[in-house]
Symmetry: D2
Subunit: 304 residues, 4 copies
């Protein structure tokens, strides 16, 4: 089985001014990530517009990423949808396209309980031979995946790992600790780019930083320092990256996804990677004033 560890950025995708998928710009981004030395690619996550793409776009994004990766690093495909049957359709598609693993959240929209969440992941596993990563993102799906359930699913071979975007570092510490005691059945990644150092201190197997699209080198250096136990470097890189992350706080014209991923897209445009910072509908782009602030921050942190 593919080994998963290290820095696996959730890839931000580019769109042309008319809103259609921009393969060329997206490829540039993918290539830069690979050159910087990332350990994997995670496409169609929350930052990667997994909740926005049509089936046609999904096909374009998946095929392009797998082609560009060319087997050099594993490609994880986000299969984000409301309920089990729909997610399985996306999984089948990813499998056919040659994905190395899939990432799925708890079911959402219709309300259920933890037994439904557990059954959901078991059914996904029955439907595929690909490794499945649970995506713990309560801000989007409004349920927190408890460490005990994750460990149980890891021991049963249902889950291969977890992408933790829960914002709950206490729970993450319990999870890493229980995972060690269980023989490390799960590969554990943090999605919080501002406190990756703390997650490494907790024993994370890697990170999935959205900001890694803007500065992949920083996260790769941080991972290498962590491998050597060089905590002062881990921490110093984090401090710099936390300052860079302020680009996601400049927006006042828009909240949520548009402010965060919108900032990443503007940064990629300023860096010459993306031709356009076009967002998926119904999300607006940042204003010129906001873009000016992003430019300042990028300059100050040396990534422009």
């Amino acid at each position: 089985m593919t080994e998963f560890h290290g820095v696996i950025p959730p890839v931000v995708i580019a769109r042309h001014e008319d809103g259609t998928f921009d393969e060329e710009s997206t490829t540039k981004n993918l290539n830069r990530l690979l050159e910087a030395g990332v350990d994997g690619l995670f496409i169609l996550g929350s930052s990667g517009e997994g909740a926005f793409v049509t089936d046609t776009e999904r096909d374009q994004v998946v095929k392009n990423a797998i082609a560009v990766a060319g087997g050099k690093v594993p490609v994880l495909v986000g299969c984000i949808d409301t309920q089990t049957s729909r997610v399985i359709e996306h999984i089948k598609h990813a499998e056919a396209a040659g994905a190395d693993g899939i990432v799925a959240t708890a079911p959402f929209y219709a309300l259920g309980g933890l037994p439904q969440v557990e059954r959901h992941f078991r059914l996904l596993h029955e439907a595929t031979s690909l490794p499945i990563f649970a995506y713990d993102i309560p801000v989007c799906v409004h349920v927190k995946l408890p460490p005990e359930l994750l460990i149980k699913l890891g021991k049963d071979g249902v889950l291969a790992g977890v992408k933790d975007s829960s914002g709950d570092d206490v729970s993450f510490r319990f999870l890493t600790q229980l995972n060690e005691e269980a023989g490390h059945p799960l590969r554990l990644f943090t999605g919080h780019e501002v406190v990756v150092d703390g997650a490494y201190l907790s024993g994370a197997d890697g990170s999935v930083p959205g900001l890694g699209n803007v500065d992949p080198w920083g996260y790769v250096r941080q991972w290498q320092a962590y491998q050597k136990g060089d905590w002062e470097t881990v921490r110093a890189e984090q401090d710099r990256l936390a300052r860079l992350m302020r680009i996601t706080s400049v927006a006042t014209s828009i909240t949520g996804f548009g402010g965060g991923v919108g900032a990443f897209k503007q940064a990629l445009k300023l860096q010459g990677i993306f031709a356009s910072a076009r967002m998926p509908e119904p999300v607006a782009e940042l204003t010129e004033e906001e873009v000016a602030k992003i430019r300042e921050i990028l300059s100050a942190e040396g990534v422009l």
Copy 2:
């Protein structure tokens, strides 16, 4: 344009024991609703498994309902999906199949603000000539649609009406009042089957009661009494229906959708309409003990 008013139940769909769509049982339910005198049909809403169906199932459900309705009453199709482009694909499908209107929620999963919600509905309107009903269901999409925004979209011809499942009767009163003052651009329906009488007192144009699958006659009689201003009958019917609604509270084995729609399906099976009470994955069926309690309530309220 089609006129929308009165009782428009969110149609519960049947599945075979193997989980596939049961057209025969669903048709029985649709025919019973029509015989009882409902004023329209709403398919693929939250109760109608709009968040669970695959594209294939969606096609089956839509075509069957439109065929059974046969133009006698309008058919509204729920187009529930995460973001604008995906919703538009469902709208195009509904339009092609001959729907009389569509029902759509605010975007969900990815976080945004009210300007995104507004743009979302405007884009849906640009994509179709069908009347659009906004589905206000914060418990599922985690945003409440403000009355002011709804009225604005109504006056601009973007929205034809609202299905209010917000649980916020204060907001609904303000909405009905603002709607009157604006010349009644919106048709306003309550989705709360237990307090339809209060919504009628507030001036609602109709109701979309999930419980209407189990007792359509009660809601039809209540609507007729409302048309005559016979409030004591409106209230008495409501009291009986509220007691009947307790079937949705018997579940302790499961929470949320499974307890509510699960109870409706069990009732339809007990009434001989559905061959099976099979739920969509990953939702479990109610236990025998719970079904026994449902049977008792149905008997006590005279609908078995």
Copy 3:
């Protein structure tokens, strides 16, 4: 025992410009309420600054209200505090001052479960012979009191009634129905001034409308119409009062308590009842522009 029913407004209190309690203005308000024919007074509720008063102010407010009421109508005293022992101290004070009943919420700040909520009310009951009304206000205490628990406490003689400010009319309908089936152990009041008509349709024993400070006559007329089964009048009064309630939506300079109770205080000042619209710290007063809008609404609805 005192009988509780009808219109029992949560009394808004006046403060001098320096922030101290203004007995004269408050007395004017109390007298106007009594002249309008209200059936009781509820002091130190959420609108009555129960969470803001010092012990000294509490004493002033309670003694004054009981003196002004003079036994003509019952006086309910809000005993709002974080946990059981503190609430009991307020109850003892109210009892000594001659209150006719007390109103208490579930415990708050420290987190607990329903068994703690139940024990809390049982301990309050053990500490006093006064009738206790449960104040169901999840927006402030972050727990919803379930109908089943309330009925149980009613049947056990622990609770005399409920002031429902939960915003959950479905739950309120179940509560009124279960209460009837149990022999009406609880007196049930709605705190939602915009949909009192719906609560009456559900069988409420009365209302506790904050807006009743501004227009007590309307709520009294509505209650009387309800007693006669004259639903069209009940509804027409409600429509007018709902328009008047828009004074609580004019604020953009402040949110929450300051926008709602702040509007009531400004209205009382405009009506010549209060000398000042001073709010308790740290709450700011509304702006002149906002006050101008309140004046317009009061004029339009004929209460200025």
Copy 4:
């Protein structure tokens, strides 16, 4: 001015079996903390029953702690109450008793906005010359204190520091970073005992660990290792303490405060420090079975 840094446990207080304050047991706990080398004491916080004590108990707890501390370490007094005037009364009391600083939350129960929160802290500051620590605990007061506001209040001399119990490590990282850039006006403490190591990596000035009542030596050793930059020891101590923290997860008979502080009290009783594990009303004690599990964990981690 007193310097605040290092380990400042939120002191758990003891009660006799009849529920009254147990000064002797509480003194034993305080003395053990001092012997272990803690850098300060925080009394009447959330764990210290600040929301439960009557005025009489408050007086007992404050006087005893200040007497036992004897000036060896600073004593911070929690002044937890709903709104400004009430909090100021507690501050005046703490000041008179000789406290070295006070800790206060945002106002709660009545809803407001950030301008009210800011004004609240400014008014507290005007009322006292003691250093004020903002207690950021959204789980109890339902508002998160934004880093920008805290820094502003720090620069203005209103706040001396922050006790962060927000569970938001991303926000805490931004806070520590902004604080450095502003010249370190605030002393920043984490209240999350399971991830103190991550907070130290973020640059925290110390910790306020409830679990420090059960194992003060561990947190003191961890602090000393942090001072030396010995991250592996910081991390190893944390791993052990995280395992010990599992005593707060054994409860199934009770949730929230009762499960957490209840476990600390049972541990202190098992360690021979407390005569009783009595909780404040309306909170129940843990069951014998749960206590047996706590005993096992304490033994396994070598603190029994």
